[in-house]
Amino acid sequence: MRLKRSHRLPGIDALSTANIVFLVMLFFIVLCSTNADTGIERRLPPAIDADNKPEKIAPRNLLCVYITSNDELYCNGRLTAFGDLRAFVKRFVDNPSNNPGLPEKSKVALPEFGVQYITDKHVISVQCERNTKYQAYIDVQNELNAAYNDLRNELALRTWSKNFDNLTESQQLAVCQYYPIHISEAEPFLKGGRQ
């Protein structure tokens, strides 16, 4: 009887695995970061060559934001305070009164909204000098993003009484199509920003 009892396998001490796995977890927490890269996304136009000519843009559809090396701001050749930029861009993109001096509206069928008149041909071009500070350029790009985000949020509140972030995915997509972002990264040093 006694012999038989000593045949039992001793239990493995599994308590230390908890410590080991905790170490693995801490290793991953240190190595990884949950916040992915953040920034301001833009798309560059393709390089200009023989078979890829830039399109002509009607003057009313173009907003030229020019940043001098002294951080002065010119919107279509007119000196503008940085604080006024957002309202200026919002009025330009939205064109609420169908002003002939602001971008033309075209009839577009949108999901969720049906047929709407939107300024889908507008272009905002940001230009600067070689000595313009990068922070000033990012401030302007940030303000442009803020203008679009404001417009989208206002549209969402008007239509569904919800903030843009709380909309469903298809609603968000429709709102983004209502106010498409057209910010040109082309020709950074084009003359004509300051007339």
Binding site: M25, D37, T38, E41, R43, P46, R130, N131, Q135, D139
Partner: protein
């Protein structure tokens, strides 16, 4: 009656079962692995990125290449592609090679994150952007830090 008394004598605190803890912590590990991404590039390069409030997150599917531009202290600008220093004249070729190394249907997800010091001037950034255009790498992201409010 006797039966009930005997039962009370045997009452003892049961010991905790610790065998489940490794499983729980492993679950936590998997959670962290799934919800985060491995830090790439060099985060301590002395680049002070500009501040902005309207930030976007780079798509999870994106193949991110980091281009770092900073001053070397002697008034010259140096450009890094991921961790390798690249002269401006070679940048188009380097990015073309990087684009060619991806599968054709993955190329649209190639994103360049521009990590530029906020005190740089736009001249060198425009030169880099022109080089990227010639390499047909068109998705860029101006990396920025969230503004403290």
């Amino acid at each position: 009656m006797t039966h009930r008394f005997r039962k009370e004598r045997r009452l003892k605190l049961p010991s905790l079962n610790f065998f489940a803890i490794p499983n729980i912590v492993l679950l936590l590990v998997f959670f962290f692995v799934a919800s985060s991404h491995i830090r790439q590039g060099n985060s301590n390069t002395g680049v002070y990125m500009p501040l902005a409030s309207e930030l976007q997150h780079v798509d999870k599917r994106a193949h991110v290449t980091y281009i770092t531009i900073k001053s070397n202290g002697a008034g010259q600008n140096i450009i890094f592609v991921d961790k390798n220093q690249v002269p401006l004249s070679m940048l188009t070729n380097v990015m073309k090679a990087r684009r060619a190394s991806l599968e054709p249907d993955e190329r649209q997800y190639l994103v360049v994150s521009l990590r530029v010091d906020k005190d740089m001037t736009m001249g060198v950034i425009s030169d880099v952007k022109q080089a990227l255009r010639h390499a047909q790498v068109l998705n860029i992201c101006y990396a920025a830090m969230p503004e403290q409010q």
